[in-house]
């Protein structure tokens, strides 16, 4: 067994969602590291997209605080405008996108806008950025969120980025071209939409966590997929790749 942090496990679980040759809306923080791990392990031909107008093959060499930082532009495949990059979302040209959020609900709708009523919010969150566009248009969506009861809620106060809306075929009926969320990676477990209702089900529990704990920290009555198991621990290769990228051990603690 190798030692790893919860964050490292999440990064590696996220990296496994990227298939070779795919074009991925990467975003900042944890997903960009996951992209780097995927490139170094099983997906050497993946392409990373950044909505500010950047496309890269190799991840940036230096630490990034924003997607617009110099190291993300030096040696890029393409530095262009937002419309050119986000426009790739149409026509199935983007395979997956990563997004985070403050709240997610049982049908994988995500809120990054308002807690409470939007006309008189108790908490105003920073907003959508390009997340609704990615959620609407990418072939599939990979969501990363901390697993707390007030974050995994029955119904989000505001749908910033649509998942399956009210479930079933509601998403399709609303005219959304992209396939919707395929997986939700938390610090305790992995959830996936399952069944005709497209409700989020528990798909695997991270090593060291229990089904009961996960259920307790979810606001809706969380059901499990038939093949519920344990999230596979990071392999040595995966951890080695991560440590090559995360030189300073930012994600290790």
């Amino acid at each position: 067994m190798h030692e790893y942090s919860t964050q490292e496990l999440m990064i590696i679980a996220a990296a496994r969602q990227i298939n070779d040759g795919e074009r991925i809306f990467v975003g900042m923080r944890l997903p960009i590291t996951a992209y780097g791990v995927a490139r170094l392990t099983h997906a050497p031909n993946a392409v990373g997209l950044f909505e500010s107008g950047v496309a890269r093959y190799e991840p940036a060499e230096d630490m990034l605080y924003t997607m617009c930082d110099g190291p993300n532009q030096l040696g890029a495949a393409w530095t262009t405008g937002l419309i050119q990059i986000m426009g790739l979302l149409s026509g199935g040209r983007v395979h997956a996108g990563f997004i985070g959020g403050a709240e997610i609900d049982r049908f994988a709708n995500i809120n990054t806008s308002y807690i409470g009523d939007f006309e008189n919010p108790t908490t105003k969150l920073p907003g959508s950025g390009g997340a609704p566009d990615i959620a609407a248009m990418a072939e599939r969506l990979i969501v990363i969120i901390n697993h707390q009861k007030h974050r995994l809620v029955e119904k989000v106060d505001f749908i910033t980025s649509p998942g399956y809306l009210t479930g079933g075929d509601a998403r399709k009926k609303a005219g959304l071209p992209g396939g919707g969320p395929s997986v939700v990676i938390t610090d305790r477990a992995i959830l996936r939409p399952h069944g005709p209702e497209n409700e989020l089900h528990l798909a695997s529990v991270h090593p060291g966590h229990t089904v009961e704990e996960v259920i307790e920290n979810t606001s809706w009555e969380l059901k499990s997929t038939p093949d519920l198991g344990e999230t596979p621990a990071p392999t040595k290769d995966e951890l080695d790749a991560l440590h090559r990228i995360d030189k300073e051990g930012f994600w290790r603690s």
Partner: protein
């Protein structure tokens, strides 16, 4: 620039934000502004904190590496220093709104905002049916946005405002062309021949520019590709100092109001700014425009 104007302070997302213009507008005490941009990092938060802002039109407001924008939260949650109206967009839909404004389309039908409650919080966006197909096919109609003034930071310009920009540009071109006036903040003023040597690197030609100002490091603390690195500590410091209204007052006094201009701001930064200056060289391969 009159009070009540709608202004674009950076449309490239997180680089080339014209903080020098943000500071000058604060010093001049402009009122009732509508700040229009997809994301302008802490520029928008600063403007809100000084009470300059009546409306925000955009996709994201905060401190990109720090998280929340404290002034934005105070204004939207408690009306402090006064309430502001937020017009929600996603990045792609505000991009299409600028595109429509720039190129004379009354509106643009998009798919990418369907299913989002932004359609409810922003009544400017209308739902409709695609008239080109028989089965139901909803689209969201996003009307043109035409701001009054766009400020943009460029790596180099000549005195007539012909400018070169490189690196990712977000919505810079669309937002600028959509705006009634364009003000260029040039990191370097060069001879016209330098710009004319590469007309494909021009994002906005001089004949569309209303004023050009030579302001080195105008984008500090945001980066300018090939010129200035991002000042991460400065963003962090802002985040810490502005947690409370009094802290923001102190911060904006020290860094904006008590300084006469951007020269003084650069002088105050001193060695900290010099450390952010890009010294290395990673030059583009030349393109030949010869005709014979």
């Amino acid at each position: 620039m009159p009070d009540g104007a709608s202004i674009v302070l950076g449309a490239a997302l997180e680089n080339a934000i014209p903080f020098a213009a943000t500071h000058e507008l604060i010093r001049q005490g402009k009122c009732d502004l509508n700040v229009v941009a997809p994301i302008s990092d802490i520029s928008t938060d600063m403007m809100i904190g000084t009470g300059c802002v009546a409306e925000v039109t955009g996709a994201w407001v905060g401190n990109v590496s720090g998280g929340m924008g404290h002034n934005f939260r105070r204004a939207t949650e408690h009306g402090e220093p006064h309430p502001i109206k937020v017009h929600d967009y996603s990045n792609f839909t505000i991009g299409m709104a600028f595109f429509a404004g720039a190129y004379g389309l009354p509106y643009v039908p998009v798919k990418s905002i369907l299913g989002s409650d932004i359609i409810k919080s922003n009544p400017q966006i209308k739902l409709a049916e695609n008239p080109f197909v028989d089965e139901p096919d909803p689209v969201a109609l996003v009307p043109a946005l035409k701001p009054d003034v766009a400020f943009l930071v460029v790596q180099r310009a000549d005195r007539a405002g012909n400018s070169h920009i490189w690196g990712s540009t977000g919505l810079t071109q669309e937002a600028s062309i959509a705006s009634e006036k364009i003000i260029v903040l040039a990191d370097e003023i060069v001879e016209p021949e330098v710009i004319a040597s590469d007309p494909s690197r021009v994002l906005i030609p001089g004949f569309g520019v209303n004023a050009v100002c030579h302001i080195p490091a105008a984008s500090h603390p945001s980066p300018l590709i090939g010129r200035w690195k991002r000042d991460n500590a400065f963003f962090h410091h802002y985040h810490q100092e502005t947690r409370e209204p009094d802290g923001f007052k102190r911060w904006v006094g020290e860094w904006v109001r008590d300084l006469p201009d951007h020269d003084a701001y650069r002088t105050k930064l001193g060695g900290e700014l010099e450390e952010l200056r890009v010294e290395g060289e990673a030059f583009s391969a030349p393109a030949n425009y010869a005709t014979d």
